[in-house]
Every structure is written in structure tokens, then in C-alpha cells.
């Protein structure tokens, strides 16, 4: 099963259409998609507008490959589940997002094992054909880096102590 997701905010018709057309041309009936509220209605793949976070995680776990916009929610969930993914950034110039932060995300995270970037629709079709050759990322722990946890914990403890000293 391939799971396509475009995120919980804006739609991403360009990506949905590309995956729909790819699935049609390859005769793939095992694609499920979360597509938001776009104008494009997929003809071939099965799609829903939104999923709850729990359903979303379940879909990611059930998938062999995640195909997603370059959003951190999708990326982190796939890394937590240890699933390979193809990400494609939403572009501001096409009105797909408010700015090009997804391009920056794709550049940075495309260097990680198990994450492949598709820069446009043609590139996406090529990378979807690689399907079987994608390597699986190492599963990450379900929590932030120890450094960040310690920083927050320390801040809370210190503020608490200072307040205790005042009273």
C-alpha cells in the first residue's frame, strides 16, 4: 500500500494529480490518499479529504511507502514509523503555500536516509517507479532530542525553584 498525504492545511492538487495519473498508467490499485479540499478529484486512487491524527498514524504504519508534501507532521510520523518516503515541496509561486519553507525542509531532510525528494510532477513519477528500491529509514524514538528535553525540563525546574525561593 502507498499512502499519499498533502497535510491538514492547504490542498496540493499538483501532487494529487501526478500520483493519480501515475497510478492509472501503472495500473496500481493500492494507493490511498488524504488530499484536503482541492479542486482536483482523483479518478483512479481512493481518497479522503482529512484523517484524524490516530487514523493518520495508522495509515502510515500500514503503508509500505509514504508519499507526502514536505510538511513536518508527515515527515516526523513516517520517521517514527520507520517508513520510506518521497516528499514533494509545496511552492509559494503556485499558491500552494504562504512561502517556500517546504523547499528548505526538502533540501535539509532530503539528506536523511529513507527520504527522497521529488522536485516536480515529472520527478515524482520517476521516483514512484523506484518504489521497490527505496531504503527504509532508521526508526526514531517518539521523543525530541535529549538536549531539548533537558533544556525545557531545566527551565521549568529553575523557574519553579526561583518562585519557591520568593515565597
Amino acid at each position: 500500500m502507498i499512502f499519499l498525504t498533502v497535510g491538514s492545511a492547504d490542498p496540493f492538487d499538483r501532487m494529487v494529480r501526478a500520483v493519480d495519473e501515475w497510478a492509472a498508467s501503472r495500473g496500481r490499485t493500492d494507493v490511498f490518499a488524504q488530499i484536503g479540499k482541492g479542486r482536483y478529484h482523483p479518478r483512479y486512487i481512493q481518497a479522503v479529504p482529512f484523517l484524524s491524527p490516530a487514523e493518520f498514524r495508522e495509515r502510515v504504519r500500514a503503508a509500505r511507502l509514504l508519499v507526502a508534501h514536505a510538511g513536518m507532521g508527515s515527515i516526523i510520523t513516517a520517521l517514527e514509523a520507520g517508513r520510506p518516503m518521497i516528499i514533494m515541496p509545496k511552492l509559494a509561486e503556485l499558491g500552494e503555500h504562504r512561502n517556500d519553507h517546504q523547499v528548505a525542509t526538502a533540501k535539509r531532510l532530503g539528506q536523511r536516509q529513507g527520504i527522497i525528494v521529488a522536485w516536480d510532477e515529472r520527478d515524482l513519477a520517476i521516483k514512484l517507479d523506484l518504489d521497490g528500491e527505496l531504503c527504509t529509514p532508521a526508526t526514531i524514538a517518539p521523543e525530541a532530542s535529549p538536549e531539548l528535553i533537558v533544556a525545557i525540563r531545566g527551565f521549568i525546574a529553575k523557574s519553579d525553584e526561583m518562585e519557591g525561593a520568593k515565597s
Binding site: G7, S8, A9, S52, P53, A54, E55, G71, M72, G73, S74, I75, I76, T77, L79, R98, H101, Q102, A104, T105, K107, R108, I140, P142, E143, A144, S145, P146, E147, L148, I149, V150, A151, I152, R153, G154, F155, I156, A157, K158, S159, D160, E161, E163, G164, A165
Partner: protein, 167 residues
């Protein structure tokens, strides 16, 4: 120093359980919420109240108090006012000792309001903001007692600071 598991907490009051501090954890949907959940191990000493924009997230934090509010962005001014009022009401009602947010607009309002009411506030800018801080992140800087970015190259001496990331 004692052998306390939390190094900075050297003068732990014996009745700590009775004086457990309240922390309000606020995030928008999608990636913001996923990142907030990855910080949970930092809050283990607190009573945590969660706020987000999707009712479906309630199941992610079972056993904790949970509010869902309306989402808003800078492009929807009327909705922004509604979200600001919702957060103000929650902060006034809950009177948390700490407020933490991974963005975006709802978290900003919570931090401004919390700052007014004397809560200690923590802003962690989303890891999606690779090239520059988010607008809400920049604005939150004035009101956040701990102001963090997840990218070292965005940190400055005056803040935001860098202490690791959710990945």
C-alpha cells in the same frame, strides 16, 4: 547537590505532588501538534493541559485536560480575533504556571496572555522554519521567557537560542 534525577531541582519541597505546577501546552494542527507531543517527556513533573485546533487530537493525550479552539492564520483577521479570545479565556480560566507552544497563532496568543498574567512562557519555533523564524515566532520573542529555534544557524545571542530539536 542531592541525587535528584532532575539536576537543577536541588531544593525539592517534600509536598511536591501537592504543589504540582500546571503547564498549558498549545499547538496548531499537523506538524505543530506532532512536534508538541514529542516534547511530552519534558513535562512529566507538571499537570499538563493541552490546546489545539482539532478535536480528533483529544485521543492522543488521553487522561489530560484538552481544549480544541478555532484555527486562524494571519490572512483571516476576524478568525484571529476569535482565536485570541478563546486562548485568553482558557489562560484566564486555567491560570497555568507555564505555557509552552510549538506555534503557530494560537500558541502566540497563549504566550502573550500568559506573560500578562505572570506565567513562565516557552516558545519553540517549528522545525519547518529552516531559513527564517516564523512570523508568530518572531513576535513571540518579546513575551517568551525561553525562546528557542530548532536550527543552530537561526540562533542569536539575544535569542532565539538553540538547544536541540524535536528530531
Amino acid at each position: 547537590m542531592t541525587n535528584s534525577p532532575v539536576p537543577t531541582r536541588s531544593s525539592v519541597p517534600t509536598n511536591r505532588e501537592a504543589t504540582r505546577k500546571k503547564l498549558l501546552a498549545v499547538a496548531s494542527g499537523g506538524g505543530h501538534w506532532v512536534q508538541l507531543l514529542r516534547l511530552a517527556p519534558a513535562f512529566t513533573n507538571c499537570e499538563v493541559v493541552f490546546v489545539t485546533v482539532q478535536e480528533g487530537c483529544r485521543a492522543d493525550v488521553e487522561g489530560h485536560k484538552f481544549y480544541s479552539v478555532h484555527d486562524a492564520t494571519r490572512h483571516t483577521k476576524i478568525r484571529l480575533i476569535r482565536t485570541a479570545l478563546e486562548l485568553s479565556w482558557i489562560v484566564c480560566k486555567e491560570r497555568p504556571n507555564f505555557i509552552i507552544s510549538t506555534g503557530a497563532a494560537p500558541g502566540y496568543f497563549a504566550i502573550v496572555m500568559g506573560n500578562l498574567l505572570g506565567a513562565k512562557t516557552i516558545w519553540i519555533d517549528s522545525i519547518a522554519n529552516v531559513e527564517e523564524l516564523s512570523l508568530s515566532g518572531r513576535l513571540a520573542g518579546r513575551y517568551a521567557d525561553l525562546w528557542l529555534t530548532q536550527w543552530p544557524h537561526l540562533a542569536t545571542e539575544e535569542g532565539p537560542h538553540f538547544h536541540g530539536a524535536v528530531l
